[in-house]
Amino acid sequence: MLLSYLPEILTFAAGLLILFVFSVRRSSFDIITSVSFLTLLVLMVISVSGIVQPDASSRLFASSRFTEFFRIIIFVSLLFTFLFSNRSREISENTAPEYFLMLYLFFVAASFMVMAENLLSLYISMEILSLISYICVSFDFDRARSKEAGLKYAIYGAVASSIMLFGISYMYGTTGSLYYSEIAQKLQETGSLSEPVFLMNILVILMIFGGLFFKLSVFPFYAWSPDVYQGGPTPFVALLSVASKAAAIGALIKVVMIMFAADTNALTNGNIALILGIIAVLTMTLGNLMAINQNNLKRLLAYSSIAHAGYMIMALSAVDDTSVLAVKFYLVAYLVMNLGAFYCVQIVSDRTDSEDIENYYGLSSRNPYLAALFTVFLLSLTGIPPFFGFIGKFYLFAAIIHKGGGWYYALAIIGVINSAISLYYYARIIRAMYLLNGNDEPFVFDSVRKYTIGFLGVLAVLFGVWFSPVLRFVEYFHTVLR
């Protein structure tokens, strides 16, 4: 049974070991990064090797093909984070061992969050993940904005998670259980409820979603992300925008699909779809509209990642198997393009010490390679073929249109119009790089970064025209949730 949590246990141990070894014997950033990277790679291989068997015997956590998928997503985004944390302007060499320990723990917490089968174990793993995130966001010790971001994040997080905890306790009060499946059963048994109790229950569901919405930066808990993204160290922020959202959406899928998906459920039948749909509309519209006037690229990407969370929630609002598959497919695309975009920003800001759009003027002539790749990531985020992001969005829209009915068509049309709006602010960056002129000094950066974003760029194009392998990968991990 313990064997099924082997990746988490080993990662935890490896993190402590790395902290210990490198605290005793301080080494250069390169060495710490290489060791951490290779260790994590080995752990990832172990976790997919077949030694780790799914296990559903525990009632608090259960690993399955479904959770394995999220394990891999988090592993992969961590690997990229390691490469880009190395020699980052924002993370000092002295604190590298502690920083890497935090990243290892990040995996453990995020993975348990998806595996949770009980509201309380979900809450606890989510809180651990939050704590790690607060610390990592303030890891850029030399800059006040990093500390400010950490504090803001912690305050917002405390509010969101206390709301969630209240929801959980109320749910326990009405159903007498904290297990997803038991709650589902209880909700089904309650049958027809009187109006006030019904409304109260909807509110409670929203409260429980609150914590997850905070992690996903979804309306109404999205306001933290621009400040935190702008202040935090870029490599970690990139991780936050992908892995943290992946864990939250994984947990949300389980909560929605196990607790509220049953058609016979008098309380939630149809309402969950409506709630998620409305929240998706608000999230993507707000995210996109607010991104339009941002001049700081990290803030811009923060709003764009809010919008992308909105697209995913939109697909999830169909509450069926196709939509879960679509969200997972989209996560793969989102990982590639969003990490790529953040790393392009980091490469520029590591040199100019600023993320303002002025730094990108004329980038196409200073470093055509970087400008071209950034353009690929941005267009992929917009959802323009032949890039990966288009296929991802195609799946999302297909998932809700598949469901049929006027509401879903309206949702899809709002969604596509939103993605047309998003072109405007992504194209502003492309315009800065290609259409405007800046200073002409050539711009160079180290080769590890060059090949890493090159690799992401190749994926963003390749999977845009040939996405069968991705589909097979997602489908392989697509079984029942437990």
Partner: protein, 507 residues
Amino acid sequence: MDFILSHILSLMTFLPLVGMVIVALIPSRYPQYIRYFSVLVSGLVFLLSLVMYAYFDRDSTDLQFVEHFVWIRGFNIEYFMGVDGLNVSLVILTALISLIACIASLGIEKKVKGYFAMFLLLMTGMMGTFVALDLFLFYIFWEVMLLPMYFLIGIWGGPRKEYAAIKFFLYTLFGSVLMLVGIIALYYNSEPTTLVDGTAASHTFNIMKLTTENDFSSKAPLFGISFAKLVFVLFFIGFAIKIPMFPFHTWLPDAHVEAPTPISVILAGILLKMGIYGILRINYQILPEATQWAAPVVAVFGVINIVYAAFVCMAQEDLKKLIAYSSVSHMGFSLLAMSSFSEPGISGAVLQLFTHGVISPMLFLIAGVIYDRAHHRDINKFGGLAHIMPEYSAFTGLAFMASLGLPGLAGFIAEVLCFIGAFSAFKLMTVIAATSVVITAAYYLWTMQRVFLGPKNPRYEGYPDLNLRERFTLYPLALIIVILGVYPMIILDIINPTIFRLINTLR
């Protein structure tokens, strides 16, 4: 030869893409190689299109030069290309105009490598859009065109290039994302069928199968509107923006005025044709009932396009803007004529795509010639150019006459067919539209008078007449305009059989 014939559409589509990769590999210190190599590639594509024309079976109504295999099984997406009467003339037009525009691009001096790389990518997108018969594939090619166009206008354009480029990009994307919803909706409402390799598929993107095996008029309504009508509207907005149809036409004057001459040529000659083509290929064939329902409204918009844009032309002082609005007006003829569902109407609409696709590039080239010399295009500031540049003036005269529909030149036949067709269904509207012929004649002749006639303007003394590059672009177009004016059957022969079949399905 067999290989070429059986893969001719893929070759024509992807040769430019290969060319783009090679251009990217040529070091930028050899701009001359990049230029001539690009001309070579577009020349090859044009040659292939001539081969296709020669081997095209004129009596058949079936798809020809078909390439068909399963591309992505997970979503039943097929790689399906083919030509019939509806798109064969447009494929030839695309190859021809691309070559002409490529020759006209030889004068580009700024960032030559990037320019030709984008140009060749644009060619792939355009060619693919016309030959793709799988909705998913069609959509990909349709969108692939946007990015190179954005850069070509945005980097190599005029003073307000950035504004024009993003406006073009946003307008078109807005339309195409609605189309995407339509595509997915058609997919999920299609009947189970088999893919080309015989495997069963629950749904399909195959345009031919969607046409023959599905009846969308009986699907459950959404928001109280019938499903077919809703999907029709989604597609129609996407295509109407591209045509461009009033009130979605405002991107066009900006894009045209700011774009460099060869890109205006491509825009007017090829991109505008995609809207009408898309409506005929997708809306007419897949959603015939909804098309019948929408026809009167489409016709009204067609008339607005024709008359409104013609009046706007009268007020223009910028030569390029005038030509841009005249394009809007001329695309209205196609819209009006195809709503009539009559044989001459649809024939005329498709022929109009071809003739306008030859005439308007010539007009834009002419505007480019004078802009290269005078660095402005203000009609009122010219005068007496006929004394200084006689050859140029003659070609301008020819192009203006062709565009206003002088008998004996290409534009006339198409317009007459359009009017004959439209009259059978919309008497009053056709009469109103026909008045535009007078307005068109007025603005062209007035422009002629202001630019070329009158006393010699000393400011323009000593301007050289057409150079070799300009002759290479203008002579072939002029020749085609005259030949088509005398013998339009060259094009009508290949388009008519399919169009007659199409009309029978509509009735």
